[in-house]
């Protein structure tokens, strides 16, 4: 546990030293604030004290930002050779993977936490469905965990950060859009399966204010499957090819 924290702390301080963290915070808050208050179906247009537009926007901004956070995680280390340095220290592959995962999740968590003022100001304007808001926040975190898993997996496959970025966007597009499209164009069991696989199905159901264990299970299982696959890729070097 201690080792995981050491690794997570290093990754977090790298985020803040390299401006990535600040760029993420500013752009995330700027985007979501802009669309919540000023543009499109914002608070004043709909005339309702609702924070739903924020979740809709955060849903998309995180889709682009998380791959940008995760792309360097393994790809850069493999490219510069520091992965060898790290994995020959007294840590297990899992310590490294979970440390990196937690670092990304913490940074996204900080970004999401900074959006709390919008919730509070909207609340000040009128009555808000508090349950739905908190569910929305939990939904964002769960979705981020799934995206981070996908991002780490992509990053562990390649040496190139750009490839890792594009790959995780590609996988993300499937979960975000394509599965939904497939579900709509098919019928029967396939439609059901693709509908289940689509992130939007589960995210919408959470932001409506219902935390269903099925949805939680869905997001966590994506994250866990991806992390297990990442571990399998990392540990390939230690496979006995007899």
């Amino acid at each position: 546990m201690n080792k995981i924290w050491v690794i997570a702390k290093r990754e977090l301080s790298t985020f803040f030293d390299s401006l990535i963290a600040y760029i993420l915070l500013i752009v995330f808050l700027g985007f979501s604030g802009f669309f919540t208050w000023l543009y499109g179906s914002d608070v004043f247009l709909t005339g309702q004290a609702s924070i739903q537009p924020f979740f809709a926007i955060a849903y998309w901004t995180l889709f682009f930002f998380i791959p940008a956070l995760t792309m360097k995680m393994f790809a850069e280390e493999k490219n510069t050779g520091t992965i060898e340095l790290l994995l020959t220290k007294a840590v297990s592959d899992w310590d490294v993977i979970i440390g990196k995962f937690l670092a990304c999740l913490t940074l996204v968590g900080i970004a999401i936490a900074f959006s709390l003022p919008w919730y509070l100001t909207v609340w000040w304007l009128g009555p808000v469905d508090h349950g739905a808001v908190w569910c929305g926040y939990i939904g964002l975190l769960l979705m981020s965990a799934a995206y981070i898993g996908i991002g780490l997996l992509s990053s562990s496959i390649t040496n190139s950060q750009i490839v890792a970025f594009l790959l995780s966007l590609l996988i993300g597009v499937f979960f975000l859009i394509l599965f939904q499209v497939l579900a709509n164009s098919m019928s029967g069991i396939f439609s059901y399966v693709f509908d289940y696989l689509s992130i939007s199905t589960h995210f919408e159901s959470i932001t409506r204010g219902v935390i269903d264990s099925k949805d939680v299970f869905y997001f966590l299982s994506i994250a866990i499957v991806c992390l297990v696959a990442t571990e399998a890729i990392l540990s390939q070097r230690r496979l006995l090819d007899r």
């Binding site: 050491v6 790298t14 340095l85 220290k89 007294a90 297990s92 070097r237 496979l239 006995l240």
Partner: protein
């Protein structure tokens, strides 16, 4: 030049002499011999290393020599538990890299090839990270870092980012991170590449100092380095061990016969050559237009006989110098053959 380096860095040498390893547990230290047993690593059909076996004792410095691509780095990656072998085993003390990687990694300090480092981190922060991740107890971290900074001469540069350091200083940071947890085994993959001559002397001094207490394996393709630093040399080529022994032993093996270069004046070269060949201790004599090369028979010396011959014929010897075979030649012989 060498002498000057020495004087300049005398201070450094003295500081390393004071280096103490108080926390080292005497009992565990003596157990950390490295035994490499029938180690093989295959990439596809190719054997990067091919059934090599050797042993390194605690307190011994082993130089690992070989041309590029011979399998040095692969062997080191297996010893440091980064990769698994295709066949065979490496045991350190009672632990095997196959089953006890977690245990072993705590006791190994490793400087990988090309010295990869997190360039965006400040030196001290990086050493703190290395110490924490290697499980150095919190109350000892500060002291260990101080020790490493002093030992590796990082004091002037310790607040800079690693990316701002010159290659020599980065190498010192690499060594410092490898030794921060006071490991019993040190594996250094080409620790002196890219350093200037002064720095090379310092790093060698450091390695020699380390070697008194630890088991050290370091790889290089610079031959004088091996002679200057190692107790034992293993030369590998194409994944196989082709020579194994103390540097002086290897040199002796290669230079079985005495070979001298002569310059003789005031005589007809053909005549001189003929006369030289009549000396019974001489196995071979040759003339290249300027100098004669004379090889004696194994175990014999012919210098006196040559001198006498020249005096008898009133020739003047203007040069007679022994040609010593150095490790470089051993290296070429065993790796080109």
């Amino acid at each position: 030049m060498h002498l000057i380096c020495y004087v300049q860095h005398n201070n450094f040498a003295r500081s390393t002499n004071n280096y103490r390893f108080k926390q080292v547990n005497q009992q565990t230290k003596t157990l950390m011999n490295i035994r490499v047993d029938n180690l093989t690593k295959r990439y596809g059909n190719q054997n990067a290393i091919d059934h090599i076996s050797f042993e390194v004792k605690s307190g011994e410095i082993l130089g690992f020599l070989g041309p590029n691509g011979a399998g040095k780095t692969t062997t080191m990656k297996i010893i440091t538990c980064f990769m698994a072998p295709s066949e065979g085993d490496v045991r350190m003390g009672d632990y095997s890299v196959l089953t006890d990687a977690e245990m072993l990694k705590k006791r190994i300090g490793y400087l990988p090839e090309n010295n990869p480092l997190y360039l965006d981190m400040p030196v001290i922060e990086y050493l703190q990270f290395s110490a924490a991740i290697q499980g150095v107890p919190k109350e000892q971290v500060k002291g260990r870092i101080k020790e490493m900074v002093r030992l590796c001469g990082l004091d002037k540069e310790k607040h800079k980012n690693i990316g701002e350091l010159s290659k020599g200083y980065r190498q010192r940071v690499g060594l410092a991170q490898a030794m921060i947890h006071n490991p019993d085994v040190l594996i250094l993959d080409e620790p002196t590449t890219g350093l200037d001559p002064n720095q090379i002397v310092e790093i060698r001094e450091l390695i020699r100092e380390m070697g008194k207490e630890k088991t050290v394996i370091f790889s290089t393709h610079i031959l004088p380095e091996v002679e200057a630093t190692c107790d034992r040399v293993i030369i590998i080529n194409d994944g196989k061990i082709v020579a194994d022994g103390a540097p002086s032993e290897l040199r002796k093996q290669a230079s079985g016969a005495e070979v001298s270069r002569l310059r003789i004046e005031d005589g007809n070269p053909n005549n001189i050559l003929e006369q030289l060949r009549t000396i019974d201790t001489i196995a071979l004599a040759d003339f290249n237009g300027f100098t004669y090369t004379v090889e004696s028979k194994r175990g014999e010396t012919s210098r006196r006989a040559i001198f006498k011959l020249c005096v008898d014929n009133n020739w003047v010897i203007t040069e007679m110098s022994p040609i010593e075979r150095d490790l470089e030649e051993v290296f070429r012989n065993v790796t080109m053959g």
